[in-house]
Symmetry: C2
Subunit: 374 residues, 2 copies
Amino acid sequence: MSPRIGDASRPARLADPGSGIGEDELALAARNHGLPLEALRYDVTPPGLHYVLTHYDIPYVADDADWTLTVRGAVRRPLALGADDLRTYPTATVRVTMECAGNGRARLDPRPVSQPWLLEAVGTADWTGVPLRILLEEAGVEAGAVDVVFTGADHGAERGVEQDYQRALPVGVASGDEPEVLVAYEMNGAPLPPQHGYPLRLVVPGWYGMAHVKWLSDIHVAPERFTGFQQDVAYRFRRHPDELGEPVTRIAPRALMIPPGFPDFMSRERVVRPGPVVLEGRAWSGRAPITSVEVSTDGGRTWNGAVLRDELPHPWAWRAWRFEWTAEPGRHLLSARATDAEGTTQPSSQPWNRGGFANNMIQTVPVVCLSPTE
Amino acid sequence: MSPRIGDASRPARLADPGSGIGEDELALAARNHGLPLEALRYDVTPPGLHYVLTHYDIPYVADDADWTLTVRGAVRRPLALGADDLRTYPTATVRVTMECAGNGRARLDPRPVSQPWLLEAVGTADWTGVPLRILLEEAGVEAGAVDVVFTGADHGAERGVEQDYQRALPVGVASGDEPEVLVAYEMNGAPLPPQHGYPLRLVVPGWYGMAHVKWLSDIHVAPERFTGFQQDVAYRFRRHPDELGEPVTRIAPRALMIPPGFPDFMSRERVVRPGPVVLEGRAWSGRAPITSVEVSTDGGRTWNGAVLRDELPHPWAWRAWRFEWTAEPGRHLLSARATDAEGTTQPSSQPWNRGGFANNMIQTVPVVCLSPTE
């Protein structure tokens, strides 16, 4: 036997029709976690409730004094910055709703085999750090640069390829200010937790989570387009295995409802009593402001407008919405759907692709309203 | 239709042979989460990496100033204590390794359908609060009291029974000092996070997680044995549905290994290169001190002693262990097993019961060691 990486690391696949979640998917679901939907109540998600996805192991970093961030490649003045150096630059704090590109994957049919998110891979935090454009200006990006490549310290294998996690942004996005990309060292006013990238991570407001490279160690300005695994193999909208597909970039619009009433432990079905029930939740889009949220209490046959809370000071964060419902005994199917200023509304049928990305199909919340005497 | 609680809340069941994880189990796995095993490196688990299991929704508590803890029942002086009142009592801080009673459930065959933990439902924290025995002394427990019943604010349904989460301890355990039970208001020196019971939770060192009642609102001293759902229906060792079964109490011994090398994203299999590899991890028992950890690198055929780190100042916390292995190319199956001072060693075959409790069957970690040229 001559063991190779492919002995542990196999090609992508779709789940067999009707098959339950496999042990590999379960192992991911047990270590990563979503936002319990009742935590949509918080403007800023409390520590430990924000969704987490790590491709490989969480790197162990005892002290950020040992960390160096390099900025190099097609630049006139390469940089090597310690954590203390970074704190001498101007800082910015931005409230960002972050969502995993794979959110909704486990609701797809057929199901792409990967981290099996239902609906909960989201969270909102205040991130503080140095605007990336300031570091790139100081380094002096050379004319003709195309992509900026970000390398994290997390190391693993994926579909036979051993790799450090790497993603790129076009130079124009990396050095832009709409959104302003951050090299962040604080989350909600405290050092980053290990699972969120301690000591440094990239924050790219409006983009799905795969762009927010954690445990950031290197920024490389490249004169050609980056074609690494996470850019050209993973994180592409692809219906057939042999196409390149469009890249996954900004977050599609979505509304989520705090499931009303109380749950059954096992079925997770919701129970309410007859009478007034406030339905509330959050809505967001990484492409354009949310312009409306509608609610259906009859399984999507009819829709009514919800009230949006004014939250303009945080253009990259979710908006709260509410709707007053009067529950009557029986079974009900509740839904909310968001529309953004680009005119995109969430679909009622699945936007399927082989990676299971950006499935923003409308949430449905089954509710049992008890008889008045129960 | 006359909707009843049972329309959302159904009996317990075992999974069909060979069936994958169902959507109900997945919904639990997505909102609850374990300790990513590489986080066994930390003596005290960082915020957000400690395991979390909540039966129902996490209650929303904006401010602990609005919280009252009552102590009542068979006592001479009932108490009603606000958060500020509790801080006037003597405090204690104790480092506790907490584990879910259902840890290991998804490795059982047949698999009880519930939260599908593999191995990772554990964590260690420093908990600070008021010793319960001090509150009970002040209230004056009456002679003949049997159980002390703890009520949390989390409300839901389970197998047709609508309930607030409630558990009891025998009076002797509740008022004892070995372990000393705490009414905790801090975790690792900060207020409890919402998912760990803000503002108050019970901490019962050495016991499985179901005893550590979160969002604690009431302590009721009862003259008879408590027979509530979480005491007499759930959390019992039962092989047949019609027996009462023994109660689940203290944590059985277990060792876990930090999976060495690096993972494949999807299979979670581990990859190492030939040469020296340090195997390390933690071991714990809620019944008695850990006396040995052994490691096998050949699928359990032979075992060798690991080195235990001295950690006597924290008798209720896990102990670190390490073992030096020389990896050679090929496939290997690594395991560790713990033995405690009561003489109990982890089993190599499953200790099955209908609830899937206390499955401390030995962990196995498949590893591919690459050829030197890979």
